[in-house]
Symmetry: C2
Amino acid sequence: MKLVSFDVWNTLLDINVMLDVMAVELSRLMGACIIDVVEGMMLTRERIKRMRAGTQGDPERALEESQEMLAELLGTDVEVVKRAAARATLNVGDEIVIPGAKETLEVVKRKGLKITVTGNVMFWPGSYTRLLLERFGLMNYIDRTFFADEVLAYKPMPEMFEKPLRTFNIMPEEAVHIGDTYAEDFEGALKAGLWAVWINPEADEVRRIHERGFEVPGVEGILEVLEELEKGKPT
Amino acid sequence: MKLVSFDVWNTLLDINVMLDVMAVELSRLMGACIIDVVEGMMLTRERIKRMRAGTQGDPERALEESQEMLAELLGTDVEVVKRAAARATLNVGDEIVIPGAKETLEVVKRKGLKITVTGNVMFWPGSYTRLLLERFGLMNYIDRTFFADEVLAYKPMPEMFEKPLRTFNIMPEEAVHIGDTYAEDFEGALKAGLWAVWINPEADEVRRIHERGFEVPGVEGILEVLEELEKGKPT
Protein backbone atom coordinates (compact mmCIF):
# COMPACT_ATOMS: atom_id res chain seq x y z
CA MET A 1 0.00 0.00 0.00
CA LYS A 2 1.33 3.44 -0.93
CA LEU A 3 -1.53 5.89 -0.44
CA VAL A 4 -4.43 6.34 1.96
CA SER A 5 -7.25 8.62 0.82
CA PHE A 6 -9.53 9.98 3.55
CA ASP A 7 -13.05 11.30 3.15
CA VAL A 8 -13.46 14.43 5.31
CA TRP A 9 -16.97 14.76 6.71
CA ASN A 10 -17.81 12.17 9.37
CA THR A 11 -14.40 10.62 8.77
CA LEU A 12 -12.04 13.38 10.01
CA LEU A 13 -14.48 16.17 10.86
CA ASP A 14 -17.99 15.95 12.33
CA ILE A 15 -20.53 17.28 9.83
CA ASN A 16 -23.22 17.73 12.49
CA VAL A 17 -21.04 20.09 14.53
CA MET A 18 -20.44 22.23 11.42
CA LEU A 19 -24.10 22.15 10.34
CA ASP A 20 -25.24 23.13 13.85
CA VAL A 21 -22.95 26.18 13.94
CA MET A 22 -23.97 27.14 10.41
CA ALA A 23 -27.66 26.83 11.36
CA VAL A 24 -27.10 29.20 14.30
CA GLU A 25 -25.38 31.73 11.99
CA LEU A 26 -28.11 31.38 9.36
CA SER A 27 -30.89 31.93 11.87
CA ARG A 28 -29.06 35.02 13.21
CA LEU A 29 -28.52 36.54 9.76
CA MET A 30 -32.10 35.76 8.69
CA GLY A 31 -33.77 36.56 11.99
CA ALA A 32 -35.47 33.18 11.60
CA CYS A 33 -36.30 30.34 13.96
CA ILE A 34 -33.42 27.88 14.23
CA ILE A 35 -35.75 24.86 14.13
CA ASP A 36 -36.94 25.88 10.65
CA VAL A 37 -33.38 26.46 9.49
CA VAL A 38 -32.17 23.06 10.73
CA GLU A 39 -35.12 21.34 9.07
CA GLY A 40 -34.40 23.16 5.78
CA MET A 41 -30.76 22.14 5.89
CA MET A 42 -31.59 18.50 6.56
CA LEU A 43 -34.15 18.35 3.76
CA THR A 44 -31.76 19.97 1.26
CA ARG A 45 -28.95 17.65 2.35
CA GLU A 46 -31.03 14.53 1.80
CA ARG A 47 -32.15 15.69 -1.64
CA ILE A 48 -28.58 16.40 -2.72
CA LYS A 49 -27.20 13.12 -1.35
CA ARG A 50 -29.86 11.25 -3.35
CA MET A 51 -28.98 13.18 -6.53
CA ARG A 52 -25.28 12.47 -6.13
CA ALA A 53 -25.62 8.77 -5.39
CA GLY A 54 -27.01 8.54 -8.92
CA THR A 55 -24.34 11.00 -10.19
CA GLN A 56 -27.09 13.30 -11.42
CA GLY A 57 -26.45 17.02 -11.36
CA ASP A 58 -23.71 19.05 -13.03
CA PRO A 59 -20.36 18.55 -11.21
CA GLU A 60 -19.23 22.03 -12.31
CA ARG A 61 -22.15 23.60 -10.44
CA ALA A 62 -22.50 21.15 -7.54
CA LEU A 63 -21.52 23.67 -4.86
CA GLU A 64 -23.52 26.62 -6.22
CA GLU A 65 -26.50 24.33 -6.75
CA SER A 66 -26.44 23.21 -3.12
CA GLN A 67 -26.21 26.81 -1.90
CA GLU A 68 -29.03 27.93 -4.20
CA MET A 69 -31.25 24.99 -3.19
CA LEU A 70 -30.76 25.80 0.49
CA ALA A 71 -31.35 29.55 -0.03
CA GLU A 72 -34.52 28.86 -1.98
CA LEU A 73 -35.91 26.40 0.55
CA LEU A 74 -35.20 28.84 3.39
CA GLY A 75 -36.55 31.79 1.40
CA THR A 76 -33.34 33.79 1.69
CA ASP A 77 -30.60 35.15 -0.56
CA VAL A 78 -27.72 32.90 -1.62
CA GLU A 79 -25.30 35.51 -0.21
CA VAL A 80 -26.75 34.88 3.26
CA VAL A 81 -25.96 31.17 2.89
CA LYS A 82 -22.38 32.05 1.87
CA ARG A 83 -22.01 34.43 4.82
CA ALA A 84 -23.28 31.84 7.30
CA ALA A 85 -20.78 29.33 5.90
CA ALA A 86 -17.95 31.86 6.34
CA ARG A 87 -18.99 32.61 9.92
CA ALA A 88 -19.31 28.93 10.80
CA THR A 89 -15.82 28.28 9.39
CA LEU A 90 -14.45 31.03 11.63
CA ASN A 91 -16.42 30.19 14.77
CA VAL A 92 -16.72 26.41 15.03
CA GLY A 93 -14.74 24.86 17.89
CA ASP A 94 -12.37 21.88 18.00
CA GLU A 95 -15.19 19.50 18.93
CA ILE A 96 -15.52 19.32 15.12
CA VAL A 97 -12.50 16.98 14.99
CA ILE A 98 -13.60 13.32 15.13
CA PRO A 99 -12.02 11.59 18.15
CA GLY A 100 -9.05 9.54 16.99
CA ALA A 101 -8.75 11.25 13.57
CA LYS A 102 -5.53 13.13 14.27
CA GLU A 103 -3.85 10.15 15.93
CA THR A 104 -4.84 7.93 12.98
CA LEU A 105 -3.37 10.38 10.45
CA GLU A 106 -0.20 10.53 12.52
CA VAL A 107 0.29 6.74 12.52
CA VAL A 108 -0.40 6.48 8.77
CA LYS A 109 2.08 9.30 8.13
CA ARG A 110 4.73 7.52 10.23
CA LYS A 111 4.31 4.42 8.06
CA GLY A 112 5.58 6.56 5.17
CA LEU A 113 2.35 6.39 3.17
CA LYS A 114 1.04 9.32 1.13
CA ILE A 115 -2.09 10.84 2.66
CA THR A 116 -4.75 12.56 0.60
CA VAL A 117 -8.16 13.96 1.33
CA THR A 118 -10.94 13.35 -1.19
CA GLY A 119 -14.06 15.27 -0.29
CA ASN A 120 -17.44 16.17 -1.70
CA VAL A 121 -18.75 19.67 -1.05
CA MET A 122 -22.14 20.95 0.04
CA PHE A 123 -23.17 24.43 1.31
CA TRP A 124 -19.53 25.64 1.63
CA PRO A 125 -16.52 25.33 -0.71
CA GLY A 126 -13.64 22.88 -0.32
CA SER A 127 -11.44 25.89 0.48
CA TYR A 128 -13.32 26.30 3.80
CA THR A 129 -12.88 22.61 4.61
CA ARG A 130 -9.14 22.98 3.88
CA LEU A 131 -9.12 25.98 6.22
CA LEU A 132 -10.75 23.91 8.97
CA LEU A 133 -8.22 21.09 8.48
CA GLU A 134 -5.52 23.75 8.78
CA ARG A 135 -7.10 25.44 11.83
CA PHE A 136 -7.22 22.20 13.79
CA GLY A 137 -3.76 20.93 12.79
CA LEU A 138 -4.82 18.04 10.51
CA MET A 139 -3.19 19.52 7.38
CA ASN A 140 0.23 18.80 8.91
CA TYR A 141 -0.31 15.12 8.01
CA ILE A 142 -2.02 15.58 4.63
CA ASP A 143 -0.01 15.69 1.38
CA ARG A 144 -2.79 16.77 -0.94
CA THR A 145 -6.46 17.72 -0.87
CA PHE A 146 -8.96 16.96 -3.63
CA PHE A 147 -12.29 18.72 -3.23
CA ALA A 148 -15.20 18.24 -5.59
CA ASP A 149 -15.53 21.93 -6.45
CA GLU A 150 -11.86 22.11 -7.42
CA VAL A 151 -11.65 18.76 -9.27
CA LEU A 152 -15.02 19.47 -10.97
CA ALA A 153 -16.26 15.97 -10.22
CA TYR A 154 -17.70 14.36 -7.11
CA LYS A 155 -17.69 10.98 -5.41
CA PRO A 156 -18.70 8.34 -6.49
CA MET A 157 -17.43 9.50 -9.93
CA PRO A 158 -14.20 7.59 -10.79
CA GLU A 159 -12.43 10.88 -11.68
CA MET A 160 -12.43 11.86 -7.98
CA PHE A 161 -10.46 8.73 -7.05
CA GLU A 162 -8.23 8.71 -10.15
CA LYS A 163 -6.93 12.27 -9.74
CA PRO A 164 -4.92 11.52 -6.53
CA LEU A 165 -3.51 8.35 -8.15
CA ARG A 166 -2.32 10.30 -11.20
CA THR A 167 -0.86 13.05 -8.99
CA PHE A 168 1.37 10.57 -7.14
CA ASN A 169 1.75 8.08 -10.02
CA ILE A 170 0.24 5.24 -8.00
CA MET A 171 -1.76 2.20 -9.20
CA PRO A 172 -5.36 1.78 -7.94
CA GLU A 173 -4.49 -1.45 -6.10
CA GLU A 174 -1.76 0.42 -4.16
CA ALA A 175 -4.31 2.81 -2.67
CA VAL A 176 -7.11 2.57 -0.12
CA HIS A 177 -9.95 5.04 0.46
CA ILE A 178 -11.85 5.33 3.73
CA GLY A 179 -15.17 7.09 4.25
CA ASP A 180 -18.58 6.84 5.86
CA THR A 181 -20.96 7.12 2.91
CA TYR A 182 -21.53 3.71 1.32
CA ALA A 183 -22.43 4.87 -2.20
CA GLU A 184 -19.98 7.78 -2.42
CA ASP A 185 -16.98 6.36 -0.58
CA PHE A 186 -17.13 2.57 -0.53
CA GLU A 187 -18.75 1.77 -3.86
CA GLY A 188 -17.02 4.73 -5.56
CA ALA A 189 -13.54 3.64 -4.49
CA LEU A 190 -14.14 -0.01 -5.42
CA LYS A 191 -15.43 0.97 -8.86
CA ALA A 192 -12.26 3.01 -9.46
CA GLY A 193 -10.17 -0.07 -8.58
CA LEU A 194 -8.97 1.06 -5.14
CA TRP A 195 -9.27 -0.80 -1.89
CA ALA A 196 -12.18 0.58 0.12
CA VAL A 197 -13.00 0.93 3.81
CA TRP A 198 -16.51 1.79 4.91
CA ILE A 199 -16.94 3.46 8.30
CA ASN A 200 -20.09 1.89 9.70
CA PRO A 201 -20.62 3.06 13.30
CA GLU A 202 -22.88 0.06 13.84
CA ALA A 203 -20.14 -2.44 13.04
CA ASP A 204 -18.65 -4.28 16.06
CA GLU A 205 -15.22 -4.85 14.60
CA VAL A 206 -13.09 -4.67 11.47
CA ARG A 207 -14.54 -7.11 8.96
CA ARG A 208 -13.88 -7.99 5.33
CA ILE A 209 -17.04 -7.43 3.27
CA HIS A 210 -15.68 -7.50 -0.30
CA GLU A 211 -12.70 -8.80 -2.27
CA ARG A 212 -11.09 -5.37 -1.84
CA GLY A 213 -13.29 -3.97 0.92
CA PHE A 214 -13.68 -3.77 4.70
CA GLU A 215 -16.10 -2.29 7.16
CA VAL A 216 -14.79 -0.64 10.32
CA PRO A 217 -16.56 0.94 13.31
CA GLY A 218 -14.47 4.16 13.17
CA VAL A 219 -11.65 5.95 11.37
CA GLU A 220 -8.90 4.28 13.44
CA GLY A 221 -10.04 0.98 11.87
CA ILE A 222 -7.89 1.91 8.84
CA LEU A 223 -4.81 1.00 10.93
CA GLU A 224 -5.99 -2.57 11.45
CA VAL A 225 -6.87 -2.81 7.75
CA LEU A 226 -3.39 -1.60 6.77
CA GLU A 227 -1.81 -4.22 9.04
CA GLU A 228 -3.92 -6.96 7.50
CA LEU A 229 -2.96 -5.83 4.02
CA GLU A 230 0.72 -5.67 4.98
CA LYS A 231 0.54 -9.26 6.20
CA GLY A 232 -0.80 -10.10 2.76
CA LYS A 233 -3.47 -12.34 4.22
CA PRO A 234 -6.53 -10.24 4.98
CA THR A 235 -9.07 -11.71 7.38
CA MET B 1 -27.64 56.15 -8.95
CA LYS B 2 -28.88 52.82 -7.58
CA LEU B 3 -25.82 50.63 -7.11
CA VAL B 4 -22.20 51.08 -6.05
CA SER B 5 -19.79 48.29 -6.95
CA PHE B 6 -16.53 48.15 -4.97
CA ASP B 7 -13.30 46.49 -5.97
CA VAL B 8 -11.82 44.70 -2.92
CA TRP B 9 -8.02 44.71 -2.96
CA ASN B 10 -6.52 48.18 -2.36
CA THR B 11 -10.04 49.57 -2.30
CA LEU B 12 -11.48 47.95 0.88
CA LEU B 13 -8.64 45.65 1.97
CA ASP B 14 -4.87 46.21 1.73
CA ILE B 15 -3.33 43.62 -0.59
CA ASN B 16 0.18 44.22 0.75
CA VAL B 17 -0.84 43.31 4.30
CA MET B 18 -2.32 40.02 3.02
CA LEU B 19 0.65 39.24 0.75
CA ASP B 20 3.10 39.91 3.61
CA VAL B 21 1.31 37.49 5.96
CA MET B 22 1.03 34.89 3.19
CA ALA B 23 4.76 35.26 2.45
CA VAL B 24 5.57 34.60 6.11
CA GLU B 25 3.37 31.48 6.10
CA LEU B 26 4.87 30.29 2.80
CA SER B 27 8.43 30.70 4.03
CA ARG B 28 7.55 28.79 7.23
CA LEU B 29 5.90 25.90 5.38
CA MET B 30 8.73 25.73 2.82
CA GLY B 31 11.60 26.42 5.23
CA ALA B 32 12.69 29.03 2.67
CA CYS B 33 14.05 32.55 2.92
CA ILE B 34 11.26 35.13 3.07
CA ILE B 35 13.08 37.50 0.69
CA ASP B 36 12.97 34.86 -2.06
CA VAL B 37 9.30 34.15 -1.38
CA VAL B 38 8.33 37.84 -1.54
CA GLU B 39 10.26 38.28 -4.78
CA GLY B 40 8.57 35.21 -6.28
CA MET B 41 5.14 36.51 -5.31
CA MET B 42 5.81 39.95 -6.81
CA LEU B 43 7.10 38.50 -10.06
CA THR B 44 4.13 36.15 -10.41
CA ARG B 45 1.71 38.96 -9.59
CA GLU B 46 3.13 41.25 -12.27
CA ARG B 47 2.99 38.49 -14.90
CA ILE B 48 -0.64 37.71 -14.09
CA LYS B 49 -1.71 41.39 -14.02
CA ARG B 50 -0.20 41.82 -17.50
CA MET B 51 -1.99 38.72 -18.81
CA ARG B 52 -5.32 39.89 -17.43
CA ALA B 53 -5.10 43.46 -18.70
CA GLY B 54 -5.14 41.85 -22.17
CA THR B 55 -7.84 39.37 -21.03
CA GLN B 56 -5.53 36.51 -21.96
CA GLY B 57 -5.74 33.33 -19.91
CA ASP B 58 -8.69 31.04 -19.26
CA PRO B 59 -11.18 32.65 -16.82
CA GLU B 60 -12.28 29.19 -15.65
CA ARG B 61 -8.73 28.41 -14.48
CA ALA B 62 -7.58 31.89 -13.43
CA LEU B 63 -7.25 31.03 -9.73
CA GLU B 64 -5.63 27.61 -10.20
CA GLU B 65 -3.29 29.09 -12.80
CA SER B 66 -2.10 31.79 -10.39
CA GLN B 67 -1.52 29.20 -7.64
CA GLU B 68 0.34 26.87 -10.01
CA MET B 69 2.48 29.70 -11.42
CA LEU B 70 3.47 30.76 -7.90
CA ALA B 71 4.19 27.17 -6.78
CA GLU B 72 6.32 26.54 -9.85
CA LEU B 73 8.31 29.76 -9.50
CA LEU B 74 8.96 29.02 -5.80
CA GLY B 75 9.75 25.37 -6.51
CA THR B 76 7.09 24.06 -4.15
CA ASP B 77 3.85 22.07 -4.29
CA VAL B 78 0.56 23.82 -5.12
CA GLU B 79 -0.90 22.44 -1.87
CA VAL B 80 1.69 24.48 0.07
CA VAL B 81 0.45 27.64 -1.67
CA LYS B 82 -3.14 26.73 -0.73
CA ARG B 83 -2.15 26.05 2.89
CA ALA B 84 -0.30 29.37 3.17
CA ALA B 85 -3.39 31.17 1.82
CA ALA B 86 -5.58 29.43 4.41
CA ARG B 87 -3.22 30.34 7.25
CA ALA B 88 -2.95 33.97 6.10
CA THR B 89 -6.76 34.22 5.97
CA LEU B 90 -6.93 32.98 9.57
CA ASN B 91 -4.00 35.00 10.95
CA VAL B 92 -4.01 38.41 9.26
CA GLY B 93 -4.93 41.31 11.56
CA ASP B 94 -7.36 44.20 11.15
CA GLU B 95 -4.65 46.46 9.72
CA ILE B 96 -5.79 44.79 6.48
CA VAL B 97 -8.86 47.08 6.38
CA ILE B 98 -8.14 50.26 4.36
CA PRO B 99 -8.66 53.35 6.56
CA GLY B 100 -12.05 54.89 5.77
CA ALA B 101 -13.39 51.82 3.95
CA LYS B 102 -15.91 50.80 6.61
CA GLU B 103 -17.16 54.37 7.16
CA THR B 104 -17.56 54.82 3.39
CA LEU B 105 -19.62 51.63 3.06
CA GLU B 106 -21.76 52.76 5.98
CA VAL B 107 -22.60 56.14 4.37
CA VAL B 108 -23.38 54.54 0.99
CA LYS B 109 -25.62 52.01 2.73
CA ARG B 110 -27.47 54.79 4.56
CA LYS B 111 -28.18 56.46 1.22
CA GLY B 112 -30.21 53.34 0.38
CA LEU B 113 -28.00 52.25 -2.51
CA LYS B 114 -27.25 48.60 -3.27
CA ILE B 115 -23.65 47.69 -2.49
CA THR B 116 -21.80 44.96 -4.33
CA VAL B 117 -18.24 43.75 -4.37
CA THR B 118 -16.67 42.83 -7.70
CA GLY B 119 -13.26 41.28 -7.24
CA ASN B 120 -10.57 39.49 -9.20
CA VAL B 121 -8.78 36.60 -7.53
CA MET B 122 -5.12 35.66 -7.31
CA PHE B 123 -3.36 33.09 -5.07
CA TRP B 124 -6.47 32.53 -2.88
CA PRO B 125 -10.15 32.01 -3.77
CA GLY B 126 -12.90 34.61 -3.53
CA SER B 127 -14.36 32.56 -0.67
CA TYR B 128 -11.35 33.58 1.48
CA THR B 129 -11.81 37.24 0.58
CA ARG B 130 -15.49 36.91 1.56
CA LEU B 131 -14.36 35.39 4.85
CA LEU B 132 -12.02 38.34 5.47
CA LEU B 133 -14.81 40.83 4.69
CA GLU B 134 -16.95 38.90 7.19
CA ARG B 135 -14.18 38.69 9.84
CA PHE B 136 -13.66 42.44 9.82
CA GLY B 137 -17.34 43.43 9.72
CA LEU B 138 -17.51 44.79 6.16
CA MET B 139 -20.04 42.18 4.95
CA ASN B 140 -22.69 43.85 7.11
CA TYR B 141 -22.89 46.60 4.46
CA ILE B 142 -22.53 44.45 1.34
CA ASP B 143 -25.57 43.04 -0.46
CA ARG B 144 -23.76 40.73 -2.86
CA THR B 145 -20.25 39.58 -3.72
CA PHE B 146 -19.05 38.70 -7.22
CA PHE B 147 -15.65 37.04 -7.30
CA ALA B 148 -13.88 36.08 -10.50
CA ASP B 149 -13.52 32.39 -9.60
CA GLU B 150 -17.27 32.13 -8.92
CA VAL B 151 -18.48 34.23 -11.90
CA LEU B 152 -15.93 32.48 -14.18
CA ALA B 153 -14.84 35.79 -15.69
CA TYR B 154 -12.51 38.52 -14.49
CA LYS B 155 -12.23 42.28 -14.70
CA PRO B 156 -11.94 44.01 -17.18
CA MET B 157 -14.29 41.51 -18.92
CA PRO B 158 -17.78 43.09 -19.31
CA GLU B 159 -19.41 39.94 -17.82
CA MET B 160 -17.95 40.81 -14.40
CA PHE B 161 -19.74 44.19 -14.40
CA GLU B 162 -22.95 42.96 -16.06
CA LYS B 163 -23.64 40.16 -13.56
CA PRO B 164 -24.38 42.51 -10.61
CA LEU B 165 -26.61 44.65 -12.86
CA ARG B 166 -28.63 41.61 -13.94
CA THR B 167 -28.90 40.38 -10.34
CA PHE B 168 -30.52 43.64 -9.21
CA ASN B 169 -32.19 44.50 -12.54
CA ILE B 170 -30.32 47.80 -12.81
CA MET B 171 -29.23 49.74 -15.95
CA PRO B 172 -25.46 50.34 -16.45
CA GLU B 173 -25.90 54.13 -16.18
CA GLU B 174 -27.53 53.66 -12.75
CA ALA B 175 -24.37 52.01 -11.36
CA VAL B 176 -20.87 53.16 -10.48
CA HIS B 177 -17.80 51.00 -9.91
CA ILE B 178 -14.79 52.11 -7.86
CA GLY B 179 -11.35 50.50 -7.86
CA ASP B 180 -7.63 51.14 -7.95
CA THR B 181 -6.50 49.29 -11.08
CA TYR B 182 -6.91 51.48 -14.16
CA ALA B 183 -7.25 48.72 -16.77
CA GLU B 184 -9.31 46.30 -14.67
CA ASP B 185 -11.54 48.69 -12.74
CA PHE B 186 -11.77 52.02 -14.54
CA GLU B 187 -11.59 51.01 -18.19
CA GLY B 188 -13.50 47.78 -17.51
CA ALA B 189 -16.44 49.56 -15.88
CA LEU B 190 -16.60 52.27 -18.56
CA LYS B 191 -16.58 49.67 -21.31
CA ALA B 192 -19.53 47.90 -19.68
CA GLY B 193 -21.44 51.21 -19.64
CA LEU B 194 -21.18 51.95 -15.90
CA TRP B 195 -19.84 55.09 -14.28
CA ALA B 196 -16.29 54.55 -13.11
CA VAL B 197 -14.14 55.90 -10.29
CA TRP B 198 -10.40 55.34 -10.31
CA ILE B 199 -8.58 55.41 -6.98
CA ASN B 200 -5.29 57.15 -7.76
CA PRO B 201 -3.35 57.75 -4.51
CA GLU B 202 -1.35 60.45 -6.33
CA ALA B 203 -4.44 62.52 -7.13
CA ASP B 204 -4.86 65.68 -5.04
CA GLU B 205 -8.64 65.84 -5.17
CA VAL B 206 -11.75 64.40 -6.80
CA ARG B 207 -11.57 65.22 -10.49
CA ARG B 208 -13.62 64.34 -13.57
CA ILE B 209 -11.42 62.58 -16.14
CA HIS B 210 -14.01 61.08 -18.51
CA GLU B 211 -17.62 61.59 -19.61
CA ARG B 212 -18.59 58.93 -17.06
CA GLY B 213 -15.39 58.82 -15.00
CA PHE B 214 -13.63 60.37 -12.03
CA GLU B 215 -10.33 60.00 -10.26
CA VAL B 216 -10.21 60.16 -6.47
CA PRO B 217 -7.31 59.99 -3.98
CA GLY B 218 -8.97 57.31 -1.81
CA VAL B 219 -12.07 55.15 -1.37
CA GLU B 220 -14.02 57.88 0.53
CA GLY B 221 -13.87 59.92 -2.72
CA ILE B 222 -16.89 57.88 -3.89
CA LEU B 223 -19.05 59.93 -1.49
CA GLU B 224 -18.11 63.22 -3.20
CA VAL B 225 -18.71 61.60 -6.60
CA LEU B 226 -22.16 60.40 -5.52
CA GLU B 227 -23.03 63.92 -4.33
CA GLU B 228 -21.92 65.39 -7.64
CA LEU B 229 -24.00 62.85 -9.54
CA GLU B 230 -27.03 63.51 -7.31
CA LYS B 231 -26.78 67.21 -8.10
CA GLY B 232 -26.95 66.17 -11.74
CA LYS B 233 -24.20 68.57 -12.69
CA PRO B 234 -20.90 66.78 -12.16
CA THR B 235 -17.79 68.95 -11.80
